[in-house]
Symmetry: none
Subunit: 182 residues, 4 copies
Amino acid sequence: MKIRGFMAAIVLILGLSVITGLGTKAQNIAQNLSDSKTSRKAINTQDISLEQANLVLEKAKAKAIKLGTKMDIAIVDAGGNLKAFARMDGACLGCIDIAIRKARTARLFDRPSGELGKLSQPGGSLYAIEHSNGGLITFPGGLPLKDARGNILGAIGVSGDTVENDLLVAQAGADALVWMSR
Amino acid sequence: MKIRGFMAAIVLILGLSVITGLGTKAQNIAQNLSDSKTSRKAINTQDISLEQANLVLEKAKAKAIKLGTKMDIAIVDAGGNLKAFARMDGACLGCIDIAIRKARTARLFDRPSGELGKLSQPGGSLYAIEHSNGGLITFPGGLPLKDARGNILGAIGVSGDTVENDLLVAQAGADALVWMSR
Amino acid sequence: MKIRGFMAAIVLILGLSVITGLGTKAQNIAQNLSDSKTSRKAINTQDISLEQANLVLEKAKAKAIKLGTKMDIAIVDAGGNLKAFARMDGACLGCIDIAIRKARTARLFDRPSGELGKLSQPGGSLYAIEHSNGGLITFPGGLPLKDARGNILGAIGVSGDTVENDLLVAQAGADALVWMSR
Amino acid sequence: MKIRGFMAAIVLILGLSVITGLGTKAQNIAQNLSDSKTSRKAINTQDISLEQANLVLEKAKAKAIKLGTKMDIAIVDAGGNLKAFARMDGACLGCIDIAIRKARTARLFDRPSGELGKLSQPGGSLYAIEHSNGGLITFPGGLPLKDARGNILGAIGVSGDTVENDLLVAQAGADALVWMSR
């Protein structure tokens, strides 16, 4: 209906242009309106669903159990906002905030949190980037969550053990999203 | 390729079920795999583009000039993150933060900031909600930015004059997005 | 081993008291040691498990679906720390923080968040308590989570709709914990 | 009126000085008052206009497009307050805050953000200066914005790619202001 109305407006302008002899100018106006319409599209994006987030949580938790450890696991959406969270019984309290920040960091910069940490060391190109965005965590355990085509739908952050184990658990979660979106 | 591989796995399971006589159970497994695939889709969303945001800024600014006033104007995206901002010459410094918070508030709750303010008064159902989300602004001047079909693509926040004028300028910006997405 | 060593120490003191004739005084010391042992015990507490928290989340989510609404749901443990969280698809972004704060508020004061709000109004006995603890939310939607005997194991916070619906969903979650701990 | 009153006061003092024979001293007082008048002028400053800021944004964005990258670009005014901002479609979310902080850092210290970073390393003369001013960003991508005569009118901050590319884009913006103020 609305597209039809817009087309009608263009036709009306063109029609008036013939009647009034203002052809060229009216055609330009119609053309400009048309151009501005087509170039001002919204961006099509995708976001992680709660069902996906919960499966990622489950797979990450299963990996933690297999490793014999206890983790805090956070999932943020494409906008960097918290989508789902689970703290395994006995997992460390301070790791709640770290898990959430790792997930946020991974989405804010679309890369593993630990890669940022390599660049934020003294002398590094991103030295002290941790001071931005209300406090980043730049050691391993945060990963972007991508579907099978590589679209970033959110991020996962894991904290509770060594950064090596944190990363293994995060990877298990990230792998699950790739698998389920195939 | 990946879908084909998945189909092949299902066929393989079904085929094995015939051979081994475990028909019912194998079919259930294949069915479950298939169900979990189809129900775990990502959410399709839309986000405001910079070109759209800049046009919204321009239309809001034009309205401010028409009103003979000076405004700070902020646009946030669908995730509540800053997309574009302009402070007109002579617009108040404290209004920078307020314009951004109005826009964020409008998107965080998908309604005009001023509507939230009606409910956050003493005795209201959302009394003191301003303490959440790092500080909300709940007086008028923040509006969700919707396309012509009503999808929320972001929000606009305007500050610099009376809240009545702030709202008029925000509305001019919001109207522009509806118009351009028709 | 340690209890046996402790008993031995008491016997030794009693034995020495007989030998030295300082019977009464030595008996007092032994008595005091024994008393202090019984009174210096740690506090036995109970905390919500992740399995319980996830079931509470599920029941709350089911209630939200029944009401035809979308909610952010947070569970905090007995220490007031985040235990589990879920944001339903399409639930409001600003409600993430509010749900978590409602849960924290309910546990920090061991009462429904809305009861605190009645006392925090202008002129009320707890006026502006929202400024404490990094920001409280004192309107309805936060409830302590108690087991069947009334022990508080944590709290639930729900945000996403009217405070009436938020409270209904929180109550469904709280009821689930009572039921499962019978 | 006030100037006349002031002149009258000087005349009165001079007149008194003649009468009382305290000529030299009174003349000194009058001279000092007159001097202090001329030295207590306000400071003449210059500030970036929105039109200038938008042109700087455009030129920076054009450079980013030429480099095939996506940037967050912030302009602050002479007071270090946000003047204009644009996030290119697909530019990283965490770079919003970094772009703004780079611009602020460049203006707060009137030098490229990266020069500060050389001094803020462990052992450096400004070690950990990032902790001041609510959080600085001291790696490259922030530049003072100067007119053709070298007056600082504000600053630009760019974030979204390598610090080398961030700096190239910031420089394109800074060059534009020099060019347009010639």
